[in-house]
C-alpha cells in the first residue's frame, strides 16, 4: 500500500495503480474517457490531467511542475503529491470538453445514451457552456458495423476503448482506427463486421452514444429504467449483472464489476438471452387436477392442498415412493425449501439432480489465450446453479440418485409421487421422461414453459424466470452470489420462493436473505456469500 496526497488529503492505495484509479476509488470525480481499468492505458483523451509535485532539475527542491501530467498514466508512488482542484487543471478540463464537443452533433433528444452519457455529465460538470466554434461541423457517417451494433461516428470522442477491447479482451481485432486527425474514425474492414461472442461490451464501455446496441435501440429512455442487481443465469460462470427494467418488462442486461469472476464484462449469449421471459408459452397460473377435473385455485389455498395430498399419498404408498427432481435453474433457497418440504413429508424420499444442459466447449477470451492470459470464459454448462443444488443434496444426504436412474426407476414404477422442477429456457423433456412419468400418480410439475409433462400432472406450478425471483446461485468457482428480483411474475403467477416457502410450512412473505440465513444455520457451507464491491457512481 502507498500513501499519496490528493488535493491535500492523504489517500491510501495499492502501489503502482494509476493515480486516476486511486483518486476515483477515493471519491474524486476525475473526468476521463480513454482510461478503463480493464484495458491498456492510452492517455489520449487528456481530460484527467493533474498537477504533480516534482523535484526541480537543479535545486532538487520539490515544487509543482509547470506541465500537467496524465493521472491515468502516472503510477501512484509512496509520498507523491498531486492536485486536481486548481484553476490550471479545471481550465484544461474546460478546453478538452470544448474540443470534444466541436463536431459532436446536438442530437441528445434522439440519442440512446442520453441520460447515462459521460459527454453530457462532464459537459455539465466540467465544461464551459460556450463554444467558440463558428464553422460547420464535420459530419462522419453512421455505420452498421455488425449484427448487434451500430457505430455513430459523428458522436465519437476517439477514446479508442472499443478498439482496445477487441484487441485485448475479446482478441478478435475487428475494430480499427481509420484515417487521421479530424477525419479519424473507428471502423471495421468492410465485410468483416464486429461479430464475436463478447461484442456487446463495446457498447457498455463507450462513454458516449457512439456505439449502440441494436437490441435496445429506441426502446426506452434510460432514465425511465429501474435497476436490479442480479446474476446471469446463462452459464455457470455466474457473471454479476444488472437488470434494467420498466413496467415489468426487462429491457436490457448490463454487467456489474465483479473482480475475479466476470470483471467488467459479460457475453452476448447472456446479454441477449433473456427474451424467453416474454415467451408466449409461459405458464402463468397454477393448475390442480383430481381425476379428470382441473381447477385453478387461489394461491392461498394451495399450500394446504399440496400438503394434504402428499401426506395422504405417503400414508397410502409409503415414503420411499416419493421423489423430487431439483433443477440447476433453481436458486439455493428454493431448492432448500423444496428439500425441507419433501424430507419432512417423507424422510426416506429420493432426491434427484435434474439434467444439466451442456453445449459445445468452453470459450475463453482473448481468443486463443490460455492459462493466466484468459480474461473471460463462457462455460459450456448452460445453467447457473448446478453446484448450489449439489451442495444442498450433499447436505441433505439420504436417498439420492442421478437423473438417468430416476427416469429408469420411474419407468419401472418405483415412484408413485414426484415433484419435478424445470425452469429451463429451452425444451428439455425427453421422450423417456415423458413415458416414465405416466406411471406417477401424484406428479407436480413446476416449470417455466409449457411442456408435455403438464398434461398428466396433478399439480402444475408456474416457475418464474430468474429476473422475477430472488435468492442465490453458486457459480463454477463455488462462490455463493445473491441476486434480487427485477420484475413481477406474469399476471396470475407467483414467485417460486413464495409458494415453496408456504408449502414448506413458513408463514408470511418470502425473503431471499432471511431464508438464506435459515438455510445457513443448518448448512454452514452457505454462510459465506460473495458480493462484488460497489464502485463509485462516477467510475466508468
Amino acid at each position: 500500500m502507498a500513501k499519496i496526497i490528493i488535493d491535500g488529503q492523504e489517500v491510501e492505495c495499492r502501489d503502482n495503480i494509476p493515480v486516476l484509479q486511486a483518486a476515483v476509488d477515493a471519491g474524486w470525480d476525475v473526468p476521463h474517457y480513454c482510461y478503463h481499468p480493464g484495458l491498456s492505458i492510452a492517455a489520449s483523451c487528456r481530460l484527467c490531467l493533474m498537477e504533480m509535485k516534482m523535484p526541480h532539475p537543479q535545486t532538487k527542491e520539490m515544487g509543482w511542475a509547470p506541465k500537467l501530467m496524465p493521472s491515468c498514466q502516472t503510477p501512484a508512488r509512496e509520498g507523491m503529491e498531486v492536485r486536481f482542484a486548481t484553476e490550471k487543471v479545471q481550465q484544461n478540463q474546460k478546453n478538452c470538453m470544448e474540443f470534444f464537443l466541436l463536431n459532436h452533433p446536438l442530437d441528445c433528444p434522439v440519442c440512446d445514451q442520453a441520460g447515462e452519457c459521460h459527454l453530457q455529465d462532464y459537459s455539465y460538470k466540467f465544461g464551459d457552456p460556450e463554444s467558440r466554434m463558428v464553422d460547420q461541423k464535420l459530419k462522419n457517417p453512421k455505420k452498421d458495423i455488425g449484427p448487434n451494433t451500430l457505430l455513430y461516428s459523428d458522436r465519437c470522442v476517439m477514446c479508442t476503448r472499443c478498439v482496445r477491447f477487441t484487441d485485448e479482451v475479446s482478441g478478435t481485432h475487428e475494430l480499427g482506427l481509420v484515417n487521421r486527425g479530424s477525419r479519424l474514425e473507428i471502423d471495421v474492414f468492410p465485410g468483416l463486421p464486429l461479430d464475436n461472442p463478447m461484442q456487446g461490451n463495446v457498447v457498455d464501455i463507450c462513454p458516449v452514444g457512439c456505439l449502440l446496441d441494436k437490441d435496445f435501440l429506441f426502446q426506452r429512455r434510460v432514465w425511465e429504467l429501474s435497476t436490479a442487481s442480479s446474476i446471469c443465469p446463462g452459464c455457470a460462470t455466474g457473471c454479476a449483472i444488472r437488470v434494467d427494467h420498466a413496467d415489468d418488462k426487462v429491457y436490457r442486461l448490463k454487467p456489474r464489476y465483479n473482480p475475479g469472476i466476470n470483471d467488467w464484462w459479460m457475453c452476448d449469449e447472456g446479454r441477449y438471452g433473456f427474451k424467453y421471459i416474454e415467451d408466449s408459452k409461459r405458464v402463468t397460473s397454477p393448475i390442480v387436477r383430481r381425476g379428470l377435473d382441473a381447477t385453478s385455485p387461489e394461491w392461498a389455498d394451495i399450500p394446504e392442498i399440496v400438503q394434504f395430498r402428499f401426506e395422504q399419498h405417503v400414508r397410502e404408498n409409503g415414503g420411499e415412493k416419493l421423489a423430487a427432481v431439483l433443477s440447476p435453474f433453481m436458486s439455493c433457497e428454493e431448492g432448500w425449501l423444496l428439500i425441507e418440504f419433501m424430507r419432512e413429508t417423507a424422510p426416506e424420499c429420493t432426491l434427484v439432480m435434474g439434467p444439466v444442459p451442456m453445449e459445445g466447449d468452453d470459450q475463453s477470451f482473448p481468443v486463443g489465450a490460455t492459462g493466466d492470459k484468459v480474461k473471460f470464459t463462457i462455460l459450456n454448462e448452460k445453467c447457473p446453479n448446478r453446484r448450489g443444488v449439489e451442495m444442498l443434496l450433499e447436505a441433505a444426504g439420504g436417498n439420492q440418485c442421478s437423473f438417468d436412474e430416476f427416469v429408469e426407476k420411474a419407468g419401472g414404477g418405483s415412484f408413485t409421487a414426484a415433484w419435478i422442477v424445470g425452469g429451463y429456457p429451452k425444451e428439455w423433456v425427453s421422450k423417456e421422461l415423458n413415458k416414465a412419468t405416466g406411471k406417477i400418480d401424484l406428479l407436480v410439475v413446476q416449470d417455466l414453459l409449457q411442456n408435455s409433462l403438464m398434461t398428466s400432472a396433478a399439480f402444475v406450478f408456474p416457475a418464474c424466470s430468474w429476473a422475477e425471483r430472488e435468492g442465490s446461485f453458486v457459480n463454477a468457482g463455488g462462490q455463493i452470489q445473491p441476486f434480487d428480483w427485477a420484475t413481477n411474475p406474469p399476471e396470475g403467477g407467483r414467485r417460486d420462493g413464495q409458494y415453496l416457502y408456504e408449502i414448506a410450512g413458513y408463514a408470511g412473505l418470502y425473503n431471499g436473505e432471511r431464508v438464506r440465513k435459515l438455510m445457513a444455520a443448518k448448512i454452514p457451507a452457505f454462510k459465506e456469500i460473495h458480493e462484488p464491491p460497489v464502485r463509485p457512481v462516477h467510475a466508468h
Binding site: 452498421d144 481485432h173 475487428e174 487521421r180 471495421v188 465485410g191
Partner: protein, 213 residues
C-alpha cells in the same frame, strides 16, 4: 441535418476473386520475417512493396497482406489510412497537391481548390475516371511567398488565380520543370564550364541531379 449511413456488413471484395499479389511479391514479403521479432512488424515494408508494385493498395491486397502477416485486415486499413503515401485506389498520372494552410488560404487558396474540384469533377484524395489526375491537399508546400500555390507532380505553380486553373490543367507540360538555372547555379565539381541545364527531359529533381553528377 441529413444522416450519412454506411453498411459495413457488405464485403468490399469478392471472396472468389483470384489473388492480386503475385507469388514473387508474397515471397518477398515473407523473406523479411527473420528481420523482425513479429510478423506484424513487416506490415510497413510490405505496404511499401505493394504500393510500389501496384501503384495502390486495393481492398483485396489488404486482405492478402493480412493473411500473410497473420493479422486482422482491420489492422492493415488502420495503418494504410494513417499514411497519405499509401493509396487505396489507383493514383492518377499527375497528382495535384493543393495547399490548405494559412498563407495560401488568405491569398485565395480555397477558391482555387474549389475550382479544381469543379473542373476535375473529383473530391480530395480522388482520381479522375480517365486516370489522368488525382487531387490531394497538404499542409504546406513551402511556397508561402508565392501563395496560393499548387504542386503538380514535382512542378510548383505559384500565385495561382482561379482563372488560371483551366489553363494549367489543359497544359500538357504542367508537371515538367523547365525553369532556367540561374548563373549562380553551382556547376558540378570537375566541370569548369557552367552547363545549360534548361529543357531537360527529366521531370525529376532527383534524376536531374543524378544526370549532372
Amino acid at each position: 441535418m441529413s444522416w450519412i449511413t454506411v453498411n459495413r456488413n457488405e464485403p468490399a471484395i469478392d471472396p472468389n476473386a483470384p489473388p492480386i499479389l503475385s507469388a514473387a511479391l508474397c515471397e518477398k514479403i515473407r523473406s523479411l520475417f527473420p528481420r523482425y521479432d513479429t510478423k506484424r512488424a513487416v506490415l510497413l515494408p510490405a505496404l511499401h512493396m505493394v504500393q510500389d508494385g501496384l501503384g495502390h493498395i486495393p481492398w483485396q491486397a489488404m486482405k492478402e497482406i493480412a493473411d500473410i502477416l497473420e493479422i486482422h485486415p482491420s489492422d492493415v486499413i488502420d495503418t494504410i489510412s494513417f499514411y497519405t503515401h499509401f493509396w487505396t485506389h489507383p493514383k492518377g498520372m499527375k497528382v495535384i497537391t493543393a495547399c490548405r494552410s494559412v498563407s495560401c488560404e488568405t491569398m485565395g487558396g480555397v477558391a482555387v481548390l474549389l475550382e479544381l474540384k469543379k473542373q476535375l469533377g473529383i473530391g480530395e484524395h480522388e482520381t479522375t475516371p480517365d486516370g489522368r489526375f488525382s487531387l490531394v491537399t497538404e499542409e504546406c508546400l513551402a511556397g508561402c511567398d508565392h501563395a496560393p500555390c499548387l504542386l503538380i507532380n514535382e512542378k510548383l505553380h505559384r500565385c495561382v488565380k482561379v482563372e488560371d486553373v483551366g489553363r494549367i490543367l489543359a497544359d500538357d507540360n504542367n508537371d515538367r520543370i523547365s525553369q532556367k538555372r540561374s548563373d549562380l547555379f553551382d556547376a558540378p565539381a570537375g566541370d569548369s564550364k557552367s552547363k545549360d541545364v534548361s529543357g531537360l527531359e527529366s521531370t525529376s529533381d532527383v534524376a536531374e541531379m543524378k544526370a549532372s553528377e
